[in-house]
Amino acid sequence: MTSAAPILQLTGIGKQFPGVTALDDVDLRVLPGEVHALMGENGAGKSTLIKVLTGVHPADSGTILLDGREVSFASPLEAQNAGISTVYQEVNLCPNLSVAENILLGREPRRFGRIQWKPMRRRAAERLAALDLDLDVTAPLSQYSLAIQQMVAIARALEVQARVLVLDEPTSSLDTGEVEQLFKVMRNLKDQGVAILFVSHFLDQVYEIADRMTILRNGRREGDYPTGELGQVELIAKMIGRDLAELERLEERPPARTTGTLLQADQLGRTGGIEPFSLTIREGEVVGLAGLLGSGRTEVARLLFGADHATGGSVTIDGTPVSLRTPQIAMTHKIAFCPEDRKADGLIPDLTVRENVVLALQARRGWTRPLPREQQAQLVDRYIKALKISPADPEQLVRNLSGGNQQKVLLARWLILEPRLLILDEPTRGIDVGAKAEIQRLVAELSDGGMAVLFISAELEEVLRLSHKVGVLRDRKLIAELPNDDTLTTEVLMQTIASGGRS
């Protein structure tokens, strides 16, 4: 590695949002002509850092040096004009416009106010040729695959003589071949001296393309390392961290009093979502799913709840084949699901605690058989007490509750249906330590009472503490299923994730 002067240097960046410190004294150095990976779990501050860098949010503190000069951008446009271009995860181009229009949108060559189509097409083709792409620039963008669209977005970003290109999870919706094509383009750019800041959740990809990486955790910088000098296990350890000591320990888990097989998935899978997997869940058993973000944890949960359609495989419940096509069908088999994104997929923020809690039960009864008000009040009161929901006001709007209490409302909605299998996708993410411990204790109690729980969490300690058995996922594949005996530790789990189950 040459010790060239960094093209981009961020020093002591801090950013507060109401109630949270998103970034705390973060440094980042990117050298010209390198691919620099920005690593961290969800909520680590990657997106915030990129937004501060590209002028979406102002920084509360710290300095940004671009090519040695201090800069501060009031808008993404200013950042772009200074040479920092960003391509976001979702391609934000106009699918119904042509490739050429997309590349030069807002910068069309004009004469007397009228667009000159010929030079425009020529320039667009030149841009694409620089990326080794040969497309029909007059065709609408929507004709091309996501990978090509992604590259058109890059071509658009480079149209402004970018010196730093920020790629925010560009590969999350691409298949292997498309990723290769993108990497070819990235190497090409690298050779031209463009610095690339690359965000991805796929470890293999990072190790393939990145020269160095900066790791963020909980808004702080863990350090930066040349890719070759940091093993995958150490990387995962640094990303996930071990700051859970403040959580009270649960008592020693008794072995699951498993009585029988509840649910058995056989080669269940969904093209583009999760590779076919087989999984057995027994009554009273907590099955943990471990894996990094994007490894397919959520996809497993959604297939078992009927939120997505499986494209292959089969499921049996109590030995009887079932087809979990819709959430309603899953609910008749007493399966419940608390989704990862509480606000988008779980709660109705404008309705009250009471309404949110009785929603699933009411949906099952249909609108012609209303749940009597006294019964609603009783149920909601019982769960407000049992789960310590605060404020203890059934008529409070859910949007006014804290994250932990919102999670409890969602739990209450499903618990009143007395499910046999409770699927919890990241139930403790983004909530405070106290609520976290309560939810963990609740999971233990429910499984002692005979309920099966599928517990998904990015925090390996939590998964280990609660689960009787841990399924390990990586790159949309269930790669291992490990019994949680004394030999299973977070190190073993990280080792398994890192090795891809090959060892």
Binding site: I348, D350, E355
Partner: protein, 336 residues
């Protein structure tokens, strides 16, 4: 009083006061020929079809949708009822036919939105345009006049000293309140409108709910259509219910239900419909020149909508004692 109902109520009161200023005795109600009589009764009577259509519209808007076809349904149902009566069908059978056809048309709208997945504004635009033509086909391009005394009662008759139309609107209002607030339809509608994906994952059958809601909106429009036709003893495929969908949408918005869906307020909608009807009456009674009536109406509606906006009120009438929400933290003082 519910805060959401406050502003439409204030506007309604102001409009009534304005009328009182121009027309002394505007608020008085007397008994003539054994029934109540007065400007207020007139507003209620002429406003009844709008109230009906607006009730249905409220539920559609609460799901995050919109129904542009209600005006055409008004015309179709009126035309069908008059055609049937003119051909010798009994009044009850004719009305039942008209309302049943309206229900089917509404279910068709719901099918387009919920099953085919067409955006509500486009899906209902189909029937808005086609429905007018259908109404003219039914009336054969003519105005069908009927002279059945029984039919006349629906829009022009009296019961318990009150115009029959007002009572009919009250019955539909009561039925709507019952369906949505006593039964659980309201909760499920607000849930689908508030967050469709979360509702699906909570096991709601949103298709069924959407079809029900669009069918209900058309049912209300069908009843309104019979009422309008009865009131003028004729069916006019061209003009019956013309632009009533826009007045209904306005009534819903003035009533405080958001076009984005979610929470809805039936009381607010009734107030909103009465505001619009009172406004129409006011325009005539205070002698606004005919060529500026639409402009006048638009100005008042704009004012009401601005008053409804909390952001606007905060700017227009700033309160002095705004509490400081967040104590300044040490970290922010260090910054820069």
């Amino acid at each position: 009083m519910n805060r959401r109902l406050l502003w439409p109520a204030v506007v309604l009161a102001l409009l009534l006061l304005l009328n009182l200023f121009f027309t002394p005795g505007f608020l008085s109600i007397e008994v003539k020929d054994g029934h109540f009589y007065g400007s207020l009764i007139d507003i209620l009577r002429f406003g009844a079809p709008l109230v009906l259509v607006s009730l249905g519209m409220t539920l559609v808007i609460a799901t995050g949708g919109i129904d542009l076809s209600v005006g055409s349904v008004v015309a179709i149902s009126g035309a069908l009822a008059c055609l049937a009566i003119s051909q010798g069908t009994g009044v009850l059978a004719a009305v039942a036919l008209a309302v049943a056809v309206a229900l089917v048309l509404g279910a068709f709208n719901g099918f387009l939105v919920a099953v085919i997945g067409i955006q509500p504004i486009v899906a209902t635009l189909i029937l808005m345009v086609a429905g007018r033509g259908l109404a003219q086909l039914i009336t054969d391009g003519q105005i069908i006049t009927v002279t059945d005394a029984g039919f006349k009662v629906i829009g022009g008759g009296y019961l318990f000293m009150l115009p029959f139309g007002i009572l009919l609107a009250l019955v539909v209002l009561a039925a709507t309140v019952f369906l949505t607030r006593r039964l659980a339809l309201g909760l499920l509608i607000e849930s689908v409108g508030g967050n469709a994906e979360a509702s699906r994952l909570a096991g709601l059958r949103s298709r069924g709910i959407l079809i029900t809601v669009y069918a209900f909106a058309a049912l209300c429009a069908g009843i309104a259509g019979v009422m309008v036709a009865s009131n003028v003893s004729s069916a006019d495929g061209n003009n019956a219910g013309l632009w009533i969908e826009l007045d209904a949408i306005l009534a819903v918005v003035i009533g405080g239900t958001l076009l984005t869906g979610g929470r809805f307020s039936l009381g607010g909608t009734v107030l909103g419909a009465l505001v619009i009807q009172t406004l129409t009456t006011t325009i005539y009674s205070i002698g606004v020149p005919p060529e500026t009536t639409l402009l006048f109406k638009a100005l008042v509606v704009a004012a009401v909508c601005l008053l409804q906006s909390a952001a606007f009120r905060a700017r227009a009438f700033p309160r002095r004692e705004r509490p400081v929400t967040q104590p300044v933290q040490d970290t922010t003082e260090v910054a820069r």
